[in-house]
Symmetry: D2
Subunit: 114 residues, 4 copies
Amino acid sequence: MTEHPDLAGLQRRLAEFAAARNWQPYHTPKNLVAALSVEASELVEIFQWLTPQESARVMDDPGTAHRVTDEVADVLAYLLQLCEVLGIDPLTALSAKIDRNEHRFPAPGPDDTP
Amino acid sequence: MTEHPDLAGLQRRLAEFAAARNWQPYHTPKNLVAALSVEASELVEIFQWLTPQESARVMDDPGTAHRVTDEVADVLAYLLQLCEVLGIDPLTALSAKIDRNEHRFPAPGPDDTP
Amino acid sequence: MTEHPDLAGLQRRLAEFAAARNWQPYHTPKNLVAALSVEASELVEIFQWLTPQESARVMDDPGTAHRVTDEVADVLAYLLQLCEVLGIDPLTALSAKIDRNEHRFPAPGPDDTP
Amino acid sequence: MTEHPDLAGLQRRLAEFAAARNWQPYHTPKNLVAALSVEASELVEIFQWLTPQESARVMDDPGTAHRVTDEVADVLAYLLQLCEVLGIDPLTALSAKIDRNEHRFPAPGPDDTP
């Protein structure tokens, strides 16, 4: 039985993958953020001429759904590799950010409804 | 005791955060990929004039370290929100991608060393 | 009387500006393309949550109009500085590209109308 | 004899090209800035794994030189199309920006040399 993959395990697989191919010299933080932004733009490219409504139905076409899923994986892969070389824990970073945003943008309470 | 945050829990917190502020109409896939690419570029901005060597020491300065960590959180936040609206499991997507890459780029074996 | 600025003159002013501040060591092609993409993303940031209709009215607000114009200038500045260090003539490059596109995407003729 | 192309003439050719293909509905400012950022990222992709030294020699290889020149043309094409739909004069915008930068970053004078 295959278990659901976890983030730390995937980060380790990516590190081993790069090490086995001697790619670490290329994986400077500067290069990894460039690669991350390129992959994010490949996601944008899929959506660039779509209306908001068309963009919401992008998973209905199996070919496009596969392409989007693949680019999501690429973005996550470079983000995890960046975190690996910089020693950042992405889950702790995001948790702290959500905490800060809850203070910056307080949710409207029941008394705020008209 | 605070547990280590997990990806699914953070994705849920982000969805509740957006819903409480009625931000869902803005969170079309097209807008979320644009926001994701903007956050990735804010990471690039930190590194754009650095040498490869300087980029490797970016976490030595506490102010820059905080800024990088914050942008990593922003990229992950938009990636998880995109996955939420499109119904993509990012960990399964990445696991499948690593599987494919292991076939595309076979690691050199011990016999390949000169 | 001020004449309308021309592209070659602006490219020269940018080169002199960088030289007077000893910025050339930073202006590697790799760094300039990163800076160009960061400026392009700052344009995207202005538009990321707008509807297509709102995006068409972005120049109606003087503050936003100024911000958009300023980012357009930044993109053009880095593009010209990239062309300077690489020895590319941007106008000849674009003219050749339009020629190629006219072959790749032939315009529908009068007989194509239903 | 072919004259050197000028920016205004190229902007007009691009507008006629889009009109002849009925592409104007796709050319919202929001979509054009997305396309501009995607093309800028395609330039980044060429340079992402290069050292600063390698990036400075990118025009030595005819295939890479052609690819870089082509992407420069694409960035300029979308920038001009964006200026067209927004009514921005890119040369005046850049000239004004250089004026402002000359005030923000005064050049060191001869007396500043040690």
